[in-house]
């Protein structure tokens, strides 16, 4: 197996001792097929046990190891060292407060996720004896792609709108709202629209599209947000211009 000495430039921050973050450089012997997460694990095991970062599955499923790698939001477990010939700069996810080293505080995203009610709200209560909910493949196709989100928050780190306007509900949360709105078993669209068809909801998005470029699950949040905009326009016409509208 081929080995290579990789130079990692890692952002360090200890809130107890540091007044501001700084970079620390590590030289670490890596195997050619390693990903950035393997290199960080090697640093922690052999060079510096004080380095902090989040990870869990090592297979792009859990969404824990999101970080900025050479300025781009990436999953560290999904980013191969062989694609980076020079010094690799590793920083915590952009647009989130740093808790320690590469660990960020996701509270803002979690709060927004809760607000959009990302779960099935049945149209009417259905007893167990009534049997299962059935869906056709076409009904499943309408939302399946949007259900692949792993909450890794890379789209928030990539979104310039979220960086500029932190009140923006953001790509992943709105995409998940759309995922449930499109589900034939769901009846909660009106409740979610009150949250996402607002200025701080979908209308803060200017369709930059960076969210879809960085998404490791190929969810394409930008398309979900565009669909939400179009459907919200039809809602607005129904509510304001057609007779018998709600408002």
């Amino acid at each position: 197996m081929k080995e290579r000495t990789v130079q990692l430039e890692v952002l360090r921050y200890n809130p107890d001792t540091d007044s501001e973050p700084h970079f620390q450089r590590y030289e670490v012997v890596c195997q050619d097929e390693w990903v950035v997460l393997d290199a960080l694990n090697e640093v922690k095991e052999t060079l510096d046990p004080t380095l902090n970062y989040r990870w869990s599955c090592h297979m792009a499923v859990c969404g824990s190891c999101g970080m900025m790698i050479n300025g781009e939001p990436k999953l560290a477990c999904h980013t191969f060292l062989r694609d980076y010939p020079g010094v690799i700069r590793v920083e915590p996810l952009a647009h989130f407060p740093i808790e320690r080293d590469l660990v960020t505080t996701p509270d803002d995203f979690m709060e927004k996720l809760k607000r959009v009610k990302p779960y099935l709200i049945p149209k009417k209560p259905k007893p167990l004896e009534a049997g299962e909910y059935r869906q056709t493949p076409a009904q499943l196709t309408k939302f399946r792609q949007y259900s692949m989100c792993i909450n890794c928050m890379l789209c928030y780190a990539a979104c310039p709108e979220y960086g500029l306007s932190p009140h923006f509900i953001g790509p992943a949360a709105i995409t998940l709202a759309h995922r449930y709105n499109q589900d034939s078993r769901d009846g909660g669209r009106d409740e979610r629209q009150e949250v996402i068809a607002t200025q701080e909801g979908v209308w803060e998005c200017t369709f930059v599209g960076a969210c879809s470029e960085v998404c490791p699950g190929h969810v394409d949040p930008a398309s979900a947000l565009q669909q939400v905009k179009i459907l919200s326009c039809f809602d607005w016409i129904g509510e304001h211009l057609l007779p018998g509208g709600k408002k």
């Binding site: 709108e161 930059v208 905009k229 326009c233 509510e239």
Partner: protein, 113 residues
């Protein structure tokens, strides 16, 4: 937070974006061809003028121009915002007024034909 009234500006923007994507490249190409002396058959000046004289022709030309102007104004407003220009109200007012003024001018010119 109340639902937004943004659809008022976004819907014509979306329509304008579609018009720009489909029509403007064709119009630019035809204009370029005309400039170098190659006017395709059926698109001679007299024939196009006849189209512009017909009420439906006027409506079609006005729709393409007005929607394209509105779409471009809104896109430019978003671009200014993305580049960090934090005076969105002023930018929006200037660009939308420009789009409406140019649309009215186009309408006036079409009616005067």
């Amino acid at each position: 937070m109340a639902k937004s009234h943004k659809p008022v500006v976004w819907f014509p923007f979306a329509a304008g974006g579609t018009v720009v994507a489909f029509f403007i490249p064709v119009i630019a190409l035809l204009t370029l061809l005309a400039a170098v002396g190659h006017v395709p058959a059926g698109l001679q000046y007299d024939q196009l003028l006849a189209v512009a004289h017909h009420p439906l022709g006027k409506l079609a030309i006005f729709s393409v121009l007005a929607l394209s102007l509105w779409g471009s104004a809104h896109r430019l407003r978003c671009t200014c915002f993305d580049f960090g220009l934090r005076i969105d109200g002023l930018v929006a007012a200037v660009l939308y007024v420009a789009a409406i003024a140019c649309s009215l001018l186009a309408g006036y010119a079409l009616l005067g034909l």
